[in-house]
């Protein structure tokens, strides 16, 4: 990497740093207005997120569904499709996955797990594919259709959880809408890291995360992030998706089937969100349960995944630290609420501010890239592309 490229790649991260600093500024003003010392609040969040072994595990547990969704959002946004339907696609995946897990309780555990994951991916993909097909073949604005589909999914979930999927033991009584518990064999195993003697003295335990809720879902998500990165930047499939997102007209002239690639990016994106739903069921809740709203099950991961994807630079690898960061923010905010009385919903507001700042900061990146191309025409930017993706490279 030569010096100029290094400088440029450093400059590419500046919008995210700036966005974070600006959001921190807004948060500080807010905290001062709420009569809470900002440093103490940030300290409480950090403590609550990473202060203990269990806190760190909870952060990673929270980050897992966010990461799945963020990987999917990265694919969709790179493909020029603004998928806001993470919530609905998660629900579709979870409903399908839990149905499989409940239908074949006698099967060996690994068979149940793999089948649930596959069917959940397919259901999420199908649900995302509806919006994808509507955009590709009927020119329906995907932002609006995915938002509507989120609400539809929540109602389908309520209907099924109050009906055919209702836990038989809840029948008749004032039923909480939830499914029966899946068999133990179908649970995703807990994740713990055995430590060598030297380190175990340092941490005071022989097995890191041994008594926490951390599960293998995190590992699946990280592997998926790597696979998706390779898919996007090292295969012709990913090349086409990104080409369509970057410049639809040029892609058409290059002979790329626009409609098929829009649909494909939504199928992949929905599938990843579907996995987020299945993994929540198999790894954490062991059943599907809700309070009647979509967020009752998803915990807003469908929206937080968008924030993490943007913050990860629409790169699945970048989404890993971004998801851990936002997972930590959510878990840490609980401690802030307990200690300082600042409602945890502040994190939602700050997430919104971060989204706005990240997409606004693109303006400055864009101005810089316009200056870089001195004398030439400004780089073509299709207005449908949600964010300016990195320049196209040919797959190697």
């Amino acid at each position: 990497m030569n010096f100029r490229r290094l400088i440029n790649s450093l400059l590419d991260t500046t919008p995210y740093v700036l966005a974070l600093l600006a959001a921190l500024g807004v948060a500080s003003i807010l905290l001062i207005a709420l009569n809470a010392p900002p440093l103490q609040a940030v300290g409480a969040i950090a403590q609550g997120a990473f202060g203990t072994e269990n806190a760190t595990a909870e952060t990673l547990v929270k980050a897992t569904p966010i990461l799945f969704v963020a990987i999917g959002i990265s694919v969709a946004f790179r493909g020029g499709v603004t998928n806001i339907g993470g919530e609905g696609q998660m629900i579709a995946g979870a409903l399908a996955g839990v149905t499989v897990a409940l239908a074949i309780p006698q099967a060996p555990g690994f068979v149940i797990i793999i089948l649930s994951l596959l069917v959940g991916f397919a259901a999420g993909a199908f649900y995302g594919g509806i919006a994808g097909a509507l955009k590709a073949y009927f020119n329906v604005n995907e932002i609006l259709s995915t938002i509507m589909l989120n609400q539809v999914a929540a109602q389908i979930m309520n209907f099924l959880l109050n009906g055919v999927l209702l836990d038989p033991s809840e029948l008749g009584s004032n039923a909480i809408p939830k499914t029966a518990r899946i068999v133990e064999a179908a649970e995703l195993p807990r994740l713990s890291i055995p430590l060598p003697p030297g380190l175990s003295d340092l941490f005071g335990t022989a097995e890191l995360f041994g008594r926490t809720r951390l599960h293998w879902g995190l590992v699946i998500a990280i592997v998926l992030a790597i696979i998706t990165y390779i898919l996007l930047w090292r295969t012709i499939i990913g090349y086409r998706i990104r080409a369509v997102g970057q410049n639809e007209r040029a892609s058409r002239y290059a002979g790329i089937n626009i409609q098929r690639n829009i649909l494909l990016s939504m199928l992949l994106s929905g599938g990843m969100a579907g996995l987020a739903g299945v993994v929540q069921v198999l790894g954490l809740q062991y059943r599907l349960q809700t309070d009647g709203s979509a967020t009752g099950f998803t915990g807003n991961a469908g929206f937080n995944g968008i924030v993490a994807a943007l913050f990860g630079g629409l790169n699945p690898i970048g989404a890993i630290p971004a998801s851990v960061f936002f997972g930590g923010l959510l878990v840490g905010a609980q401690k802030m609420q307990r200690e300082l009385g600042i409602p945890a919903s502040m994190v939602t507001a700050i997430n919104g501010v971060i989204v706005v700042f990240v997409v606004s900061a693109q303006y400055f990146v864009h101005r810089r890239s316009r200056r870089r191309s001195v004398g030439g025409a400004p780089p073509e930017r299709e207005p449908t592309a949600p964010i300016v993706p990195a320049p196209l490279e040919t797959p190697s």
Binding site: T82, M148, S345, G352, V355, T384
Partner: protein
């Protein structure tokens, strides 16, 4: 059973429940006509709803509450305009950011400033001597709070502004062909700032119509998706105030029916009734997308000299 469902009170609540849809969607029509997809409406509505509710809670005056909602809405509109016009941020995603901000912020303020669910005395029903007492007709048309009448009055006013005034012409020009409008000396950015602020102000009003006129309560996520439907209603109404009105009435009618069916215990799973408006919206979007009325420059930032 049909008589049990289609009662005068259903039609009366159809008109009442249309209020927030009309305010929000007519405002959004201005914004979209000028080429800005203002997706943060839901967040602005929540902020407006809270501002109005808290002010009435604290002062007891619905008029001051209304003003608070208008001011908060206008400020959120100004912020939206700065983001989507000056900074030219992608409108869909930045709108989601504004939504999340409004969602979190209104809840934060509610928990911090009020805490427990309370109800307030909102806009009273107006009694119109003579008219309110007419059987059936009186119940349907002349038994509402002030904001309901204001919403219906807004529709012809908006249509007049958009179709019969210079300002309306500028809005349409800027949304249809910003380059040409710019060449003719229209300040594209200024027109878009104005329409987005109008949309914000009316979204604030829509929020207030929920929190201090229709429901007289505030809770987390009070609007529950109404703002997003309002955005879609503009597509549904083919970017005209009258079309938006018809769409709003259709949606509020479905809402009113759903309440009525629930109250008389007809055996239709309530989930399907709740789902219906969203499914209708999606279907409507399929048809709306084929129309030529859509402003050509919708979602496209304008940059001079490109």
């Amino acid at each position: 059973m049909i008589e049990e469902i289609f009662t005068a009170s259903v039609f009366a609540s159809t008109l009442r429940l249309a209020t927030p849809y009309i305010f929000a969607a007519v405002g959004e029509t201005f914004s979209q006509k000028s080429g800005v997809l203002n997706l943060g409406l839901e967040g602005v509505m929540l902020m407006g709803a809270f501002a109005a509710f808290y002010t009435v809670y604290a002062t007891g005056s619905v008029i001051i509450g209304l003003l608070a909602a208008l001011i908060v809405g206008a400020l959120m509109g100004l912020a939206t305009a700065f983001i989507s016009v000056t900074l030219q941020a992608e409108q869909g995603i930045s709108g989601i950011g504004i939504y999340l901000f409004g969602l979190g912020m209104s809840e934060l303020l509610f928990v911090r400033l009020i805490g427990t669910p309370v109800s307030i005395d909102g806009f009273p029903r107006l009694y119109i001597p003579g008219f309110s007492d007419i059987p059936v007709i009186g119940e349907i048309f002349f038994n509402h709070n002030l904001l309901v009448y204001a919403a219906f009055l807004l529709v012809p006013i908006a249509a007049f502004i958009l179709n019969r005034t210079t300002f309306g012409l500028m809005i349409r020009a800027v949304g249809q062909n910003p380059e040409a409008a710019d060449a003719m000396g229209v300040n594209v950015a200024r027109v878009r700032y104005m329409t987005v602020i109008i949309a914000g102000t009316l979204a604030g009003l829509a929020g207030a119509s929920l929190s201090i006129a229709l429901l007289n309560v505030f809770q987390q996520n009070l609007t529950s998706g109404l703002g997003f439907i309002a955005v879609a209603l503009v597509y549904f109404g083919r970017w005209t105030p009258l079309g938006v009105l018809l769409g709003s009435l259709l949606f509020s009618f479905v809402n009113a029916l759903q309440l009525q069916i629930g109250s008389i215990g007809v055996n239709i799973p309530s989930e399907f009734a709740v789902m219906a408006p969203y499914v209708i919206t999606i279907i409507a979007l399929v048809f709306a997308s084929k129309r030529a009325e859509k402003p050509t420059a919708l979602t496209k930032p304008f940059r001079r000299g490109d």
